[in-house]
């Protein structure tokens, strides 16, 4: 298991997609962050949501569907190691990637841009876990349903843009029609951004987006488990 994790980690660092997942949100943060007032509570949560969304909706499903398509999971089932280990290792590593991306964003935001950072870190961690849980669940569902790696990638793109739009990652929510903002609150990415923004603004945690994320994490991952195929 240790060796599998280590080798998969090396493979992840050789994956150009992983670099993109780190750099795209950082690029957005730096471009918009250079001309923003110090008390801003919108930009950093947006960048964090973009980062976790990229990992959950692109990286995870593409990797898993590609592994299935190439028969890697099937080849594993012919060894004493059960292929479910690969699934666990991938989930852990993609979570590590998401943490790394967020850590990088927070470091640059706090250290370089002097942006506002919250002090309630346990709450940040909880929201991060719920957000990652709900987005990874959707990634797993894509991996379960996509026939191959390329289509998993395509479905990820198709889902990502409308979800990012509804979540207020394309433009601030106060510039959006009310009805879209309402709908967005019930998407995992929207609930994630909203919860983070609440923390950044110092307001008490609203239970609704937390419940939305927990609900997606549970229900969608159960559906994904139901439809997942090893070959």
């Amino acid at each position: 298991m240790t060796k599998l994790t280590f080798v998969e980690l090396k493979l992840l660092t050789r994956e150009p997609g992983a670099i993109f997942a780190l750099l795209i949100p950082l690029f957005i943060l730096v471009v918009f962050g250079s001309s923003i007032e110090p008390g801003d509570t919108v930009l950093v949560p947006m960048a964090l949501a973009i980062a976790v969304g990229l990992v959950g909706l692109y990286m995870l499903p593409t990797t898993l569907a590609t592994y299935r398509e190439r028969g890697i999971l099937r080849r594993l089932s012919a060894t004493p190691v059960r292929p479910v280990r690969m699934l666990v290792v991938q989930l852990i590593l993609q979570l590590v990637l998401a943490v790394a991306a967020c850590g990088l964003l927070l470091g640059v935001a706090g250290g370089v841009l002097r942006a506002h950072l919250p002090s309630r870190w346990p709450l940040v961690a909880l929201v991060f876990l719920l957000g990652a849980g709900s987005l990874f669940a959707i990634g797993l569902l894509i991996a379960a349903l996509a026939p191959n790696g390329r289509s998993a990638n395509g479905i990820g793109v198709l889902l990502y843009f409308p979800m990012a739009f509804l979540a207020g990652l394309m433009q601030p929510t106060h510039q959006m029609p009310d009805i879209l903002v309402r709908v967005g609150e019930y998407t995992p990415l929207g609930a994630f951004r909203q919860s983070l923004q609440d923390i950044w603004a110092g307001s008490p945690a609203d239970p609704l987006p937390l419940l939305v994320m927990a609900g997606y994490a549970l229900v969608v991952s159960m559906i994904a488990a139901r439809f997942f195929r090893w070959e």
Partner: protein, 303 residues
Amino acid sequence: MAVIEVNGLRKSYGELTVLDGVSFSVEEGEIFGILGPNGTGKTTTVECVEGLRQPDEGSISVLGLDPAKDGRRLRERIGVQLQHTQLPENIKVWEALDLYASFYAQPRDWRELMAEWGLDEKRDARFGKLSGGQKQRLFIALALVGNPRVAFLDELTTGLDPQARRTTWELIKRVRASGMTVVLVSHFMDEVEELCDRVAVFDRGRVVALDTPAGLIDGIDAEHRMSFTLMDGEPAGLADLPGVTGVSRTGDRVVVSGRADFATAVTAHLARHHVLVSDLRIDKRTLDDAFIALTGRSFGTKE
């Protein structure tokens, strides 16, 4: 001692019967061939034996274990090369070997295997950059890295050029020399003829014959031909020789057709009567002929 015993395997997917009562046994230390065109149940059979699929009916014992119940213990002792599987593009040769070795309780030294299979130079090459032959050698090395008692190799040389096929065959012969039992699934007649001690011929989900390659070829009773050009003398009485079914002559060129070992009788006859011939040709019977005789249809080696 039988290492693998398969009895009365049946499997169907809906209306489609894939296995229709497959039985055979594999002896320790032999290279056992499973031969047949695509879609005749070869791979399904082997995957049942490996414990990757469940038959609807029938019993399987591999090294005394039931693949359905003792799957994990069994997979410690067998090595598998599957058709249509790849590795991640970016994994390096040594990393793949090292990783797969870590899956087994008592693996072989992967460095040794890497050298044996001629992959030393490619140690740090990524999987995606390997040639077809190198990939195939890596797959076989991965099948052997757990130090298995039985290795299953499915479509070993599909997609390889003739040179790479020859090299692979030589390496497989070395594997047998080490005492390992090898089950070789193939739809190539020449490969089976070259490598296998015994062959089960599959057709439409059944084993239609099981013998040594030579036995299968000798077992068929098809007519074949020999021809030669007369240099000196007259070939009289050829038509009366045992096995000969027809003689025809065009100028100096004589064509004799017959069954079984008629060619030996004909050459002996010519020698006895001091008939000098040149350009003697005997159509060699091959497993292809055996297959046509067994199944009533041609093999069609195209993928």
